[in-house]
């Protein structure tokens, strides 16, 4: 380990709370999103225990409604959306392009504080009456009828939106202006492409939800008629505005995870990624087309048949770039040199779960089937496969992959593999039964249910207890490894990206001298510096040995 690095360059609480180092800010985010993950996870645990019996086991219906609402708000707005961009993206994006920091380091710190302020509003709502509107805040339930603490929650999500906007802005400017010499657009790591696509959605989508929730708040506080029909408003208008952001928000959650997977797979298959430009291009295609599918959440609101036809067709189109990614990842394994290290287990687990999550999206995009499946547990299972099976697996996999870079230490490999497998099995046992529950007709957001649905609910709860264990294990051994882990060295896997060219943990300025990029991404064959057995490489490859 280097004698001086970003973690020990300065000491004291002020050196953290006033830091402008993107790596330290990433760790501030890591601590805060982990906090919200455990809050959201605690709510989920109570939900699953409650659903053990048809009448509901644990809490009153009112409390149950608050549990699933607060689970959704905490997980989506305060964990999933910031997780990969604000933690891994913040840490890695500048290093991956050979920059010293983000373009606007102070704004980066500001966005963390904005996140905290938004988070405090939401925690205030949770602890003073709770929130029972569903994370979707549908009007007029949220703006008129709910008796819970809607106003602070809506303000919290509104404020938090600015944090996303500033992060997106920072990333876009950084990628455009701060790439190292030789780092052309098509030499960018695919993780950077994914962050770039995500940032586009942050900037274009987030203002819409911020304003929409503000309007709902104004209607609630001052009875201004935007959505309440009794005041001349239209409740469906809210849904259009809400999903205009919140559907692209799904891609905010999954695109960065796809970026992580696109880094892990070439490293552990030790070969260039198959179809680089198709994976990069599909990220942009998803970000763009993703803006034109929102009303597929509204096929049964009474929207016009022509609108429904259009949105169904566009929803099928947005599935294609995701399919392209999966095919390219699988093909990358062909004739690779594949190892079973933990990040690779997460990557393969991601492909399997994302595959199911993505394919079940085809069922819901289908107009005829959505009549039956809309708002059932099928939808719950589908989006948990995308958001937990996809986004969270990608995030945890990425944490493992870059942990040696972030902390300079290795985690215990055996325990980590056990945890990865536990997560995969626990996840499937939790959510697969919910597909069947959904087709049988069990509605979502039910505090009690007809007895014929009990067996599948008990299976799901059993799976959730395994899943919880799978999340606790990494918490324990990753924390342990910060102190007791083996020293990792700059490039333990080894991998080709610029982040692996600098020390672990990196220096405050990331690099001693600005690197110059002369190689293509994931090009193991032309990287004699990695110390690998390069076959058939140009003769200079062995020259330096």
């Amino acid at each position: 380990m280097p004698r001086e690095h970003y973690l020990n360059a300065t000491y004291g609480i002020r050196s953290w709370l006033l830091t402008t180092d993107h790596k330290r800010i990433a760790l501030l985010y890591l601590a805060s999103v982990t906090f919200f993950f455990f809050i959201g996870g605690a709510f989920a645990t109570m939900i699953r225990i409650h659903l053990l019996t048809p009448k509901g086991f644990l809490v009153t219906p009112e409390t149950y409604n608050k549990l699933f609402t607060m689970h959704g708000v905490a997980m989506i707005f305060f964990f999933l959306i910031p997780s990969i961009p604000a933690v891994l993206g913040n840490f890695l994006l500048p290093i991956m392009i050979g920059a010293k920091d983000l373009a606007f380091p102070k704004i980066n710190l500001l966005s963390w504080y904005i996140y905290l302020v938004g988070g405090c509003f939401v925690l205030y709502s949770f602890s003073t009456g709770g929130l029972d509107t569903g994370w979707t805040f549908y009007t007029p339930l949220s703006s008129v009828y709910s008796n819970s603490a809607v106003t602070p929650a809506v303000l919290g999500v509104f404020i938090n939106g600015f944090s996303s906007i500033l992060t997106g802005l920072n990333f876009i400017v950084t990628v455009h202006t701060m790439r190292a010499p030789g780092m052309t657009w098509f030499r960018l790591p695919l993780f950077v492409w994914a962050q770039y696509a995500t940032s586009i959605i942050f900037i274009l989508g987030t203002p819409v939800i911020a304003i929409t929730l503000l309007l709902a708040g104004l209607e609630r506080m001052f009875h201004l008629g935007f959505f309440n029909p009794q005041l001349g408003g239209d409740p469906i208008l809210f849904q259009h505005l809400f999903w205009f952001y919140s559907h692209p928000a799904v891609y905010i959650m999954i695109l960065p995870a796809m970026g992580v997977i696109s880094e892990i797979i070439p490293t552990f298959a030790r070969k260039p990624i198959f179809g680089y430009s198709f994976i990069a291009g599909s990220s942009i295609a998803i970000a763009v087309i993703g803006f034109f599918v929102w009303a597929h959440h509204m096929f049964l609101t009474g929207e016009s048949t022509y609108a429904a036809l259009t949105f169904s067709l566009l929803s099928y189109l947005v599935a294609i770039p995701s399919a392209v990614k999966v095919f390219n990842w699988a093909s990358t394994l062909y004739k690779g040199s594949i190892s079973y290290d933990t990040p690779m287990l997460y990557a393969l687990g991601f492909i399997g779960l994302f595959l199911i999550g993505g394919l079940t999206g085809l069922f819901l995009a289908c107009l005829g089937l959505d009549i039956h499946l809309h708002d059932t547990y099928f939808v719950i299972a589908h989006f948990h496969y995308i958001m937990v099976g996809g986004a969270v697996m990608g995030y945890v996999g990425g944490l493992h992959y870059w942990w040696p870079k972030i902390t300079g230490k290795l985690y215990p490999e055996f325990l980590a593999r056990i945890a990865a497998i536990t997560l995969f099995l626990g996840f499937n046992l939790t959510f697969f039964p919910q597909f069947i529950l959904g087709y049988l007709g069990m509605p979502r957001r039910y505090a009690s249910y007809p007895p014929e649905f009990q067996v599948l609910n008990v299976m799901s709860t059993a799976g959730a207890s395994i899943l919880a264990l799978g999340y606790l294990l990494p918490m324990i051994y990753l924390t342990w490894s910060m102190r007791y882990g083996e020293v990792a060295g700059p490039n333990p896997w080894p991998a080709t990206g610029l982040e692996w060219q600098t020390a672990s943990p990196p220096l405050t300025e990331n690099f001693d001298v600005t690197p110059e990029v002369t190689w293509e991404p994931y090009d193991f064959d032309n990287r004699p510096d990695l110390g690998l057995d390069v076959k058939g490489a140009p003769s200079f490859a062995h020259g330096d040995d």
Binding site: F274, I320, V324, I338, L367, G368, G441, R445
Partner: protein, 323 residues
């Protein structure tokens, strides 16, 4: 354990067939990709710590194939789904119309005779049934899994849904759009009966005082609608005789069919559509009528169907709208 609910409507078999079709395609791809990954995983596992893979950068033909084939299959899913959906959204002409009103947290059902039910819905087997859905408060959703149908119940306007029950029995219906505290118990049972049983049930339990036409007529007088809507068309507003189901010519030159939604809108928001030849004089009744009262008024206006319809030179359409 069953994998699908009972099939009890005209849509059920169609929706299930669509489900099987998409499932087969998805299972094929999921299995093929997973098998390939597992195969590569073992076949190409690293044998030497310094070994690297073969540098393959991509293949244009493969990329084209795995864009084109999924796109084609996706379009077939879209097409079949669209056919089912369009059928579902377009109710046939001669339906048995039943009003369903959702309010936190109960369902009120009104049969054509005016018979009212709470959290129960009786329908005859083999008959096309159209539900006209209204909400008194928040958004609800009326869903019958055994029929494979559902539709949101949105305050401020009517939605409709239709189905033809194919099998007598008792089936769950649910509120499927989260609507607050007791959302989970806002449900009930659909009872599908043989047509003769249904008629007997309807006449056996009918209560003359609940007749919506009578109630509607009373409201029509109470709310002073009679002041302007004179039956001979000589008033400041058009006659309502023969209105229901007719085409109405509007002041902007367009026409609209006078259905439940049009009548409801004209009562609550009279300025939205002005009948040709009349002034926009009618006041709004927003907030002064419950959804049930609006249904009573609509039932009364429907009953004026067969009476003679004198027109006041307002276009060619049979004597039209109001206002």
């Amino acid at each position: 354990m069953p994998l699908y609910p009972e099939q009890a409507s005209n849509f059920a078999a169609n929706v299930d067939a669509l489900m099987v079709y998409i499932t087969l395609i998805c299972v094929f791809f999921a299995v093929a990709i997973t098998a390939a990954i597992i195969f590569f995983f073992f076949k190409y596992r690293r044998k030497d710590p310094a070994e690297v893979g073969v540098p393959i950068h991509g293949d244009m033909r493969l990329e084209t194939a795995w864009i084109a084939v999924p796109l084609f299959l996706a379009l077939t899913m879209f097409g079949w789904g669209a056919v089912v959906y369009v059928d579902y959204r377009r109710a046939p002409l001669d339906t048995l119309d039943i009003y369903v009103i959702g309010k936190q947290w109960m369902w009120k059902v009104q049969q054509p005779t005016g018979l009212r039910e709470i959290n129960e819905l009786h329908v005859p087997v083999g008959r096309d049934v159209k539900l006209i859905l209204a909400s008194e408060d928040v958004i609800h959703d009326f869903s019958v899994p055994a029929f494979r149908v559902k539709m949101d119940v949105v305050p401020g306007h009517y939605n409709t849904m239709w189905f033809r029950p194919t099998k007598a029995g008792r089936y769950h219906f649910f509120c499927q759009q989260y609507c607050g505290t007791n959302h989970a118990i806002m449900g009930g049972w659909v009872t599908v009966m043989e047509p003769t049983d249904y008629s007997a049930w309807l006449s056996g339990s009918s209560d003359a005082s609940a007749n919506p036409v009578v109630a509607g007529e009373k409201l029509f007088v109470e709310k002073a609608c009679t002041t302007c809507h004179l039956p001979n068309g000589a008033g400041r507003a058009p006659s309502l005789n023969g209105l229901y189901g007719a085409k109405v010519l509007l002041a902007d030159g367009s026409t609209v069919t006078a259905d439940d939604a049009y009548i409801r809108e004209s009562i609550l928001n009279p300025q939205a559509k002005i009948v040709a030849g009349y002034q926009p004089l009618m006041p709004s009744f927003q907030g002064q009528l419950t959804e049930e009262q609006i249904i009573d008024l609509t039932s009364y206006i429907k009953s004026l169907q067969s009476q003679p319809a004198p027109a006041k030179g307002a276009g060619t359409a049979p004597a039209t709208g109001k206002k």
